[in-house]
Symmetry: C2
Subunit: 314 residues, 2 copies
């Protein structure tokens, strides 16, 4: 089958990848649409040392199991099923987990892939394929509410106007936070202003917020984020940047800031919001390309100011 | 009067410092015992660029106001009294605050000093002067409970067996946490083991904790602290280290760690615990010296393995 594979050197399209065989709790899914994520770009640069098929954002049709023939999205962490984290329904924190397209498991930028049946969630009929393909990043955005509870009435600052920042700002504003989105590529984001999000090229000097989210994807973002934190505020880290970075931690201690690392989330709250329009994603789509053009799609996704590139597989 | 003053060069004892005059909301306190804190050592190295009398740990006797003649301890932050933080009883987060012996206000390593009357709390009769002198660092330790709520039943790791680490470990174990204290100077800490605290020269490789407190006072402490954090655990930063440090933040995001900066606390919970023995401090006292010998005391406090040096003023 066609698959986009990371091995030595840059990832490349191969034509003869063996189709996966269903094993134990894993079922096959036929990919319909897969998204390219910043994490994929980081993986190609060496993050997590992943080898294999890339891709973890998807909507597909299950081939095996109880969802056979149904459109599905799914959580990307494959827990061991027996540890303490797995028993608390936190497979995404299982120490022995594999992660779809990221760690020890082939991903979704291929005609088919394997995933634990327990990870799958059926997509409501009224959610289109291209919208459903955002379930994974939308779930990552919703995870902030799962971790913090309601943010209604808080002054929130989201740093980074990439696709994740745009999703997070929508989740916060629809939960009732006064939300400012800061970034350098605000062109074409007027629709976010219509959702009540304040757009700004940079945070006002000296402005302090109750809730700051770093979604810049850049090591430099964190310094600005720390500076914008009011005393006793919450700083959510949504950025996975490989490697070590220099930061001054003293302001976090002096201002008693609560820093929350935040990663993947559950599919259900994301699908709900994608279905009822609290999260809009269509304006984030810059390009759709077939799997045969995935190398071009990957290069496009890496360009500054480009948000979501979707790969249409089948 | 005698005072220990930081100006250009290392701090020194002066004999002719003018006695402070009471102004507006500030009252005079005659210092009885003052403690030397790691923050004082950091200030002498340039942290906060403080100029003036050093010292912020104290027990004294109020000269003016409603506490005149009474033994008092007190909060060290002088809020502006009119901002949002001050109106929420969070003077310690007032953006325009001065801080006793740390920022814009002469400190306690002198015969007398000034402090807002509202900051003072009377010391119960059964608490001795040398014990009461620990009210400020004990309050900083208790602040963790104020921020996190109860820690009963949690697996806690305290990194750093200096005085603050020893206070924090006692606060956590007396609240019901299974508490391990890790440090390189465990000699003489058997009394902590008798309180139920597990002592270890280093964290067991691979061990993960629900609650990790970095009280090492060292930039290297943080890396070990991050490593010991279980998924969805809490990491409390108790260390104020001047300057920028290199850290790898990815594990905080991947493990969704909640990082809590933590600083000063309220006096009342600290005095309660010092009075009823939940916090023991006498074994932490390595030396007591008169104010005339404060330069020797300061040098002693900087030695590795030395915990608390108290300066007896009057």
């Amino acid at each position: 089958m066609l698959a986009f594979v990371l091995d030595e050197g840059p990832p490349r399209l191969v034509y003869d990848r063996a189709r996966p065989e269903p094993v134990e709790a894993l079922v096959r899914v036929r990919t319909v649409v897969a998204g390219i994520c910043n994490t994929d770009l980081e993986l190609a640069r060496g993050y997590m040392k992943h080898r294999g098929v890339l891709g973890h954002e998807f909507v597909g049709v299950a081939i095996d199991g109880v969802f056979a023939g149904r459109r599905v999205v799914g959580g990307i962490n494959f827990g061991c099923g027996s540890c303490d984290a797995c028993s608390r329904d936190l497979a995404r924190h299982c120490a022995n987990r594999r992660v779809l397209g990221i760690l020890g498991a082939d991903g979704t930028l291929a005609e088919e892939f394997l995933i634990p049946e327990a990870n799958l969630v059926e997509v409501p009929a009224l959610v289109s394929d291209c919208v459903a393909a955002f379930a994974e990043p939308a779930a990552a955005a919703c995870e902030i509410l799962e971790q913090l509870g309601s943010v209604a009435g808080r002054d929130a600052l989201v740093l980074g106007d990439g696709k994740l920042g745009c999703l997070i700002a929508q989740v916060l504003v629809s939960d009732g936070a006064r939300t400012t989105l800061v970034g350098h590529h605000l062109h074409g984001l007027d629709w976010l202003a219509e959702c009540g999000i304040r757009l700004a090229p940079e945070a006002r000097a000296g402005a302090r917020f109750d809730l700051v989210v770093d979604a810049t994807g850049s090591p430099h973002g964190l310094a600005g984020a720390i500076e914008a934190c009011a005393p006793r505020s919450t700083l959510v880290l949504k950025t996975t940047v490989a490697g070590r970075h220099e930061i001054d931690l003293a302001p976090l201690v002096i201002n008693e800031v609560n820093v929350v690392g935040s990663r993947c989330g559950r599919m259900e709250p994301a699908l709900e919001r994608l279905a009822d329009g609290r999260i809009l994603v269509e304006p984030l789509i810059d390009a759709r390309m077939p799997l045969a053009s995935v190398e071009v799609a990957f290069a496009a996704a890496a360009k500054p100011g480009v948000r979501k590139v979707l790969v249409e597989v089948g």
